[in-house]
Subunit: 200 residues, 3 copies
């Protein structure tokens, strides 16, 4: 469990950095960037927990999440150029992040007693809704609706985890394989510019 906790804090830290950097090009001041980093980091898990009535919210009950977010925002402020040059690294971090938060979201929903179909949606929401809320606030078309495969990779990974879970695959293997599935789908779809068909 300690490894999982460390991963959660790291994922939150990385999401805060990517959120703060996401609005660099536009007319936002430091506060706006920090606010955006904060929303990106907490949005998905917060929406999941409000929908499932799970209180206190993770970042309200455990102050270390807030510190991880503040650290991420400060890192984005102090090393913006360095971090931006790491764009590829961050794409990788974000991709690791959505894989990890998808599976964690599914597990949390299951532990609260909902049906697997609902848990799959909650897993996807945990991973992507922080970015959706951020994009909506800043008047961008949410990443969800853009061309590359993003949220659908999370949903596929969530469903895969639930099927493996049904067949009683041990949790550690399942977590690792399902995360890898999300990450692989995302990486492959970006590399080969794959996208889902449109509704004609």
């Amino acid at each position: 469990m300690e490894l999982q906790y460390a991963l959660e804090l790291t994922g939150t830290f990385v999401f805060a950095i990517s959120g703060a950097l996401a609005i660099r090009e536009r007319e936002h001041d430091l506060f706006g960037a920090g606010f955006t980093g904060f929303i990106t980091a907490i949005g998905g898990g917060t929406l999941r927990d409000i929908l499932l009535d799970s209180h206190p919210l993770v970042w309200i009950g455990d102050i270390w999440f807030l510190y991880a977010i503040i650290a991420g925002i400060l890192a984005a402020f102090v090393f913006p150029k360095f971090l931006s040059r790491l764009r590829k690294t961050f794409f990788l971090f974000d991709t690791l992040g959505i894989g990890f938060f998808t599976v964690l979201g599914v597990e949390k929903a299951l532990s609260l007693g909902v049906r697997p179909e609902i848990a799959a949606i909650m897993g996807m929401f945990s991973a992507v809704m922080g970015g959706v809320i951020r994009d909506t606030l800043t008047n961008e078309i949410p990443v969800l609706f853009r061309k590359e495969i993003y949220a659908s990779a999370c949903l596929a990974g969530a469903i895969f985890y639930l099927v493996m879970n049904y067949f009683e695959v041990p949790r550690d293997y399942n977590l690792l394989i399902s995360m890898s599935l999300v990450i692989s789908i995302r990486l492959i779809s970006v590399k080969y510019r794959l996208s889902l068909p449109r509704l004609e």
Copy 2:
């Protein structure tokens, strides 16, 4: 009560179709359309229940609502041209839907013990906020702010239901008359291009 349950599922199904079809013209893939259908169908009731602290949310507690939504999204995927040609039919369905969900939202709020003034707002929210959230996420001006009478018809119907309820009009009659009021206001305002005056 069985009729009401069937109507609720049907309304959810129709809202999911109209949500999924709503973004056809734009650059969204199948997943985006499905996501939009989902949000449109659950948004209003979910906001109402979160504001009133009523858990579990309807679609989390009863899996048939999710299945109705998935069926609606699949219908929009498989028969998009057929369904779009039914635009007028759908306008009618959407209008029936907002009439029905307005009254249902009022009744649910009353059953949770809030004052009638609050119940009126909750009835309107149940009917229109799914569409508002959908439009906000996809960067559209919400239907609420467009010219035709829409949410105001729901608010009028909700207030009418509450007045009739105060005078102890039997519930079945009241439900039918109030729904008809919402539907009539909406249909007449669209047919004759009526709109409320603007703030000068």
Copy 3:
């Protein structure tokens, strides 16, 4: 406490007016203006209470808040030109409002037992999120991201209140000084067009 209650109702009234007037220039009808006034007035406190799981929401539990909002909306409808000519007066009211709601939000969060760091965020959210939700629904860039110092003044005032509170400064003095700090920062930043640096 009676003074505080009167101030809360007055603040809600003023926020409703400024919300309803905010969209005058655009293509919205009277209902849209009323809806916007409502959202502006309740948004911040509602988000705070949902995040902290504090129910019933203030405006659901105490009907006078709804009446204050309706009065504000009606005032905006009946005297729009008069009120708009009072733009400077309203800027002042809005500024008083964010100062007041910031401190009140911090106090409410503390009373619900959260850590001071979380209470600071909740104070800021109480003051500014109504306007953020309003701007998001109407497709504007939220005031938060515009150039002048706004939400950051609230955050500074919230942190100041918490530090004074830690050093056991009596509540009445603390409330007054912290409110004045928010208001002063805001007034000075607008007068001298100060803004926080951007992320380069």
